[in-house]
C-alpha cells in the first residue's frame, strides 16, 4: 500500500481483503456486490476519491476477516476492470490479483429481456459477450439484447 503513505488514510488491516484501484465512485457498488449492509458484522473501511498514481482518483475498500468468492470477483471485474484484490494476512499482502474483464462472462448477470429463452427456466448458464468495458456494455448471445451499466448494477 505504498501509494497511501505518508498520509495513510485508513488503518492497515490484519486479516482480510483490500480492493484497491476501484474506479472512483464505484466503491458503493463494490459494497453492494460484497453484500455489505446494516446487518453485516465485518469491519469494512471505505475511501472514496483518493489521489492515485495510476489514475487520477480511485476508491479503496477494505474488508476485515473475509476473502472474496469467485462470483464476487467476476462482478467486480465487470464494474471496475482495473481493480486489484489484495489478500492480507498478518498485515502483509499475501496475494495480489488484478481483475480483468474477459470477452465472455458466465453466471454473473441475467438477461434483462423477459422474453429471452435464458429467462424461461431452461438449463442454460447465463453467458454474455462483453461488447465494451468503458462504458460497460454486454450482449446476450441468445436474444441479442444489449445491457448497459445501470441495468447490470441493478442486479447486484
Amino acid at each position: 500500500m505504498s501509494e497511501e503513505r505518508p498520509e495513510l488514510r485508513v488503518q492497515k488491516i490484519r486479516e482480510g481483503t483490500v480492493i484497491d484501484h476501484i474506479k472512483a465512485g464505484y466503491s458503493l457498488a463494490v459494497l453492494k456486490i460484497l453484500g455489505v449492509n446494516k446487518d453485516s458484522k465485518k469491519v469494512v473501511s471505505l475511501a472514496m476519491n483518493v489521489p492515485s498514481s495510476k489514475t487520477d482518483r480511485k476508491d479503496v475498500v477494505k474488508v476485515e476477516g473475509r476473502a472474496l468468492y469467485r462470483s464476487e470477483l467476476n462482478k467486480i471485474s465487470l464494474i471496475t476492470p482495473d481493480a486489484t484484490i489484495n489478500t492480507i494476512e498478518d498485515y502483509r499482502v499475501k496475494k495480489k490479483v488484478t481483475v480483468s474483464l474477459p470477452k465472455r462472462i458466465e453466471n454473473t448477470v441475467n438477461c434483462i429481456n423477459p422474453n429471452c429463452i435464458t429467462n424461461a427456466g431452461e438449463p442454460i448458464v447465463p453467458t454474455f459477450n462483453v461488447v465494451s468495458s468503458n462504458p460497460l456494455r454486454l450482449r446476450c448471445p441468445y436474444c441479442g439484447k444489449f445491457m448497459e451499466e445501470k441495468e447490470i448494477l441493478d442486479q447486484f
Binding site: C116, I117, A120, G121, P123, I124, P141, C143, G144
Partner: protein, 303 residues
C-alpha cells in the same frame, strides 16, 4: 439455420441459386423423391399458417414425411416441460426440426442441444431466416439483382421479426434502406446499431409517398392493433402506413411491393392487380426456398 448473421454472402448466394432448381417441383410440373424416407418435425409453439404449411408442403413435395404440432398447447410444454427436454426427445423422431417460439433465442438453444438440424421458423421478435431468404429470392428473381437497390421497410419495425431479419441480411448487399414507421414502432436500437456498424446506409422517414417514388422494393408489414393501447390512435396510425393503387402511380416502373402476409388493410386489394404487386408470388417462392433449404440441411442436394 438459426440466424442469417451466421451465413456469408457466398452462402446466401448459393442457397438462392440452388432454390431456382426447385421451382418446377414446387409448382407441380415435376415430381421428386429426393427426401423419401426422411421425416420433418414441425415444432410450432406459436401459431403460424403459411410458414408451417409451406415447410410441410416443401417436405412432402420432395417425398418426405411430416409430423409435429401446431401449437404449444398440444405439446408437453403445456405440462411444463422445458424446451431443452422437448428437443432431446423430438430429435429421436425426425431428421430435421422446424421450430417457432415466442421466446427470443429459442432456436439457438435448440440447435446447441440437438444433434439433428434445427431450422428457425421465427423466435419472438428476433429472427425469421427462412422468411428472409425467400424475401431475398423474391427480390433477386423479380428485379434481377439485390445490389444497388433502394429498399423501404414500412409499418411495424419494432416487433416485426421479418423486417429485423431482412435488414440484417441486407447488410451483405449494397443497398440503401428506408425505415417508414410510426415513432412507437420504430426499429429497435440494437438493430439500428448493428446495421450502422455494418456500414449500411439507413434513412428514417415518415413520408411514405416519397419513399414509394424513390424505392425499388417497398416491403409492407402489418401494424398489429394490440400494439396500441388506444384504439383511436391505431385507427389514425394505420392509414398513414397503408397503400392503395393510386399511391403507386408515381412509382418506378420496376418497383415491387412485398408483404410477408397476412395483410389486413395496409395494402388495399386494389393493389393486387397492379404490375407492382408481388406478395402472392413471394408466398410461392417461400415453398421453393424451403425445399432448397431442406435438401441442403439434409445433405441431399447435389450440384
Amino acid at each position: 439455420m438459426v440466424d442469417l448473421k451466421d451465413f456469408s454472402r457466398d452462402e446466401v448466394d448459393y442457397i438462392l441459386k440452388v432454390s431456382e432448381n426447385f421451382e418446377p417441383i414446387a409448382n407441380g410440373k415435376k415430381r421428386s423423391k429426393m427426401l423419401q424416407g426422411y421425416v420433418l418435425c414441425n415444432m410450432f409453439f406459436e401459431p403460424s399458417t403459411r410458414t408451417r404449411l409451406s415447410f410441410s408442403s416443401a417436405m412432402m413435395r420432395l417425398g418426405g414425411s411430416v409430423t409435429g404440432f401446431a401449437s404449444g398447447s398440444v405439446s408437453s410444454a403445456s405440462k411444463g416441460e422445458s424446451l431443452s427436454d422437448t428437443v432431446r426427445v423430438v430429435e429421436n423422431y425426425c431428421d430435421v426440426m422446424v421450430l417457432r417460439s415466442s421466446l427470443e433465442g429459442a432456436a439457438r438453444l435448440a440447435a446447441d442441444i440437438s444433434s439433428k438440424p434445427v431450422i428457425n421458423a421465427g423466435d419472438g421478435t428476433r429472427q425469421h431466416p427462412t422468411q428472409t431468404l425467400l424475401d431475398l429470392y423474391t427480390i433477386s428473381k423479380e428485379i434481377g439483382t439485390i445490389d444497388g437497390l433502394k429498399v423501404a421497410l414500412v409499418g411495424d419495425l419494432k416487433y416485426g421479426r421479418t423486417v429485423h431479419s431482412l435488414s440484417y441480411a441486407l447488410t451483405m448487399f449494397d443497398v440503401e434502406l428506408s425505415f417508414v414507421s410510426p415513432p412507437e414502432l420504430s426499429m429497435p436500437e440494437e438493430v439500428v446499431s448493428d446495421l450502422k456498424a455494418e456500414g449500411l446506409r439507413v434513412e428514417t422517414t415518415d413520408d411514405l409517398s416519397h419513399v414509394i417514388e424513390s424505392s425499388d422494393v417497398v416491403y409492407m408489414t402489418r401494424i398489429q392493433k394490440e400494439r396500441f393501447p388506444d384504439p383511436m390512435e391505431y385507427e389514425r396510425m394505420k392509414g398513414a402506413y397503408s397503400i392503395d393503387s393510386t399511391m403507386l402511380e408515381g412509382a418506378k416502373e420496376n418497383m415491387i411491393v412485398m408483404h410477408p402476409l397476412p395483410r389486413i388493410d395496409e395494402i388495399s386489394t386494389t393493389v393486387d392487380s397492379s404490375p407492382h404487386a408481388r406478395y402472392f408470388q413471394q408466398a410461392f417462392y417461400g415453398l421453393v426456398v424451403r425445399m432448397a433449404l431442406l435438401s441442403l440441411v439434409l445433405g441431399k442436394w447435389r450440384d
